[in-house]
């Protein structure tokens, strides 16, 4: 392009946003290495104590629980989302394809607060699930589902399923069906075709979906605190309690920064795996 410098001025607005965003992240880092002064919003001098406090069993357990819940949710969402995405792309009936697409898109428009509230109504002692189970006669007393890890994971699965399904559907729609046809014509049964052709070819989409859902759930705030009722806190809830409710900016900054590092590490690892697999197919 002849006049490339003219386009460079278009970077200015994004540069400004990037600058403010970078400053915000640097401030998080800066607060994380400052001393906590109880009762004061102003942090004290330089210290690494906040990082040492991360080893405290209380924070360690919340951190591990968050990682575990994010990973478990991502796996469950993958197992449900894959068949759904496959059907959405490959179903013969146009009506069914549109219906699944609609089912996937609709919840995207409802924020996590209304949806978490819906799950309180679903899982509560007088909620819909207990009501239905009692009506069928499976139980006489309500089952405790609200305020449990399982309940929060179910709600997180519900909230992130659309993202996974849409990402997988895009990936599956890009698989050339000629490969599957070739395998079939060489005598492979449908299951074998799926396991040896379709599934391996959708690995990049699977990894992208896993990465996205993992990161999304790591940011979950409303769901764990509403469905978990303060008993299943995730890292975001602890960061808020420390930073906003107790004015402990330095330690909440440390937790946020470690969360950032953890998510980037997971995303980086999955991304590397994805590139390696991509290279293997390119050869």
């Amino acid at each position: 392009m002849a006049n490339t410098s003219a386009f460079r001025s278009l970077l200015l607005p994004a540069g400004l946003v990037a600058l403010l965003y970078a400053t915000a992240l640097i401030l998080v880092f800066q607060y994380s290495v400052r001393e906590v002064i109880p009762g004061s919003l102003e942090p004290g001098g330089f210290t690494l104590d906040n990082y040492a406090s991360l080893g405290h069993p209380l924070y360690l357990s919340v951190f591990l629980r968050t990682l575990g819940m994010c990973a478990a949710t991502a796996v469950i969402v993958l197992l449900i989302g894959y068949p759904l995405a496959y059907y959405m792309v490959r179903a013969r009936s146009r009506f069914l394809r549109s219906l699944i697409l609609l089912i996937c898109i609709m919840p995207l428009f409802l924020g996590d607060v209304p949806r978490s509230y819906a799950w309180i109504l679903m899982l509560g002692a007088n909620g819909a699930v207990n009501g239905a189970l009692k009506w069928v006669g499976l139980i006489d007393r309500p089952v405790q589902m609200l305020f449990t890890v399982g309940g929060v994971v179910v709600a997180l699965v519900h909230i992130t399923l659309p993202f996974m399904t849409l990402l997988l559907a895009v990936g599956i729609s890009h698989i050339d069906q000629l490969y599957e046809k070739a395998a079939r014509s060489l005598g492979a049964n449908p299951l074998r075709v799926f396991l040896t052709v379709t599934l391996p070819l959708s690995v990049p989409a699977i990894l992208a979906g896993f990465m996205t859902v993992f990161a999304l759930n790591f940011s979950a705030y409303a769901t764990p605190i509403m469905v978990g009722g303060g008993k299943v806190n995730m890292i975001s809830n602890v960061v808020y309690q420390l930073g906003i409710a107790s004015f402990n900016y330095p330690f909440s900054a440390t937790l946020s920064l470690i969360s950032l590092v953890a998510v980037l590490a997971v995303v980086g690892l999955v991304g590397r795996a994805s590139r390696k697999i991509g290279q293997r197919y390119a050869e």
Binding site: A2, N3, T4, A6, F7, L10, L11, L12, P13, A14, V17, L20, Y21, A22, T23, A24, L25, L27, V28, P83, Y87, S98, I100, L101, M106, F109, L110, G111, D112, P114, R115, Y117, A118, L121, M122, N126, G127, A128, H158, A169, V170, S173, H174, Q177, P190, A215, S219, A220, Y221, I235, S236, V239, G243, I244, Y249, A253, S256, S259, L260, V263
Partner: protein, 267 residues
Amino acid sequence: MNLPLIGLVRLFTVLVALFVVAPAIVIVVSAFNEPAFMSFPPKAYSPKWFYVALANPDFQRGFANSVWVMLWASTLAVIVGTAFSIAMRRSEFVGKNLLESFILSPLVVPHFTIGLGILMLFVNVHMVQDFAPVVLCHTILVLPFVIRSVYISLHNLDLRLELAASSLGAKPRRVLTSITLPLLLPGIVGGWIFAAILSFNEFTGTVFVVSQSTRTLPVAMYNHVRESTDPAVAAVATLYIAVTMIVILLAFAFLGPGTGLNRDKRS
């Protein structure tokens, strides 16, 4: 595929559809629940919680704030994102990939880290009561989605159209305003709508940057659920669902359900 497998897939799809839709149905039913505490199924029905919700000053204010923040953040993100996307496609500079990764990073960076950082930024300049931190937070969070949307349009844009315009003597600015931008319009509008929806619903980052006076609707709803058991929030959520359905149906009617997914179908 053989028949039993298809049956299995159908059953599975029905179950998943039920799982996806059930909470929405429960919300709508609960909104018409007469007593101030929930029980399922409701014993008496009444539309009174809609009046209660609509008259609630916290919800009214939250709604007004949400719309205000949404308009600012999505519009800013569209301007910044469109300019950025075009610059990325049309120019080369040092640190290009780094800048792109950084601008797209809110897709994976925890929203509470961003929210906390922006809070700290505005605490230092004593502007926490302002809308500025909320708008900035939302702009940063929705910008990657606008950029992705415009990227797709840029990818489909025929470069020869721009070359033809400039070979006929159009200055770069003229090419931009009369060729590039009009052709990118679907991506820009799509990105703007998506950004608006995301901003309207954003909670995790928002909860860190709002003050008493700038609370958005999701924050107001969250506070209400924490303080009370009445189904006023269910009424608000029902209105949400109703508006969403209308928007989606309109979108399907005007744009069609094809999102590129069914594009390369061969039977």
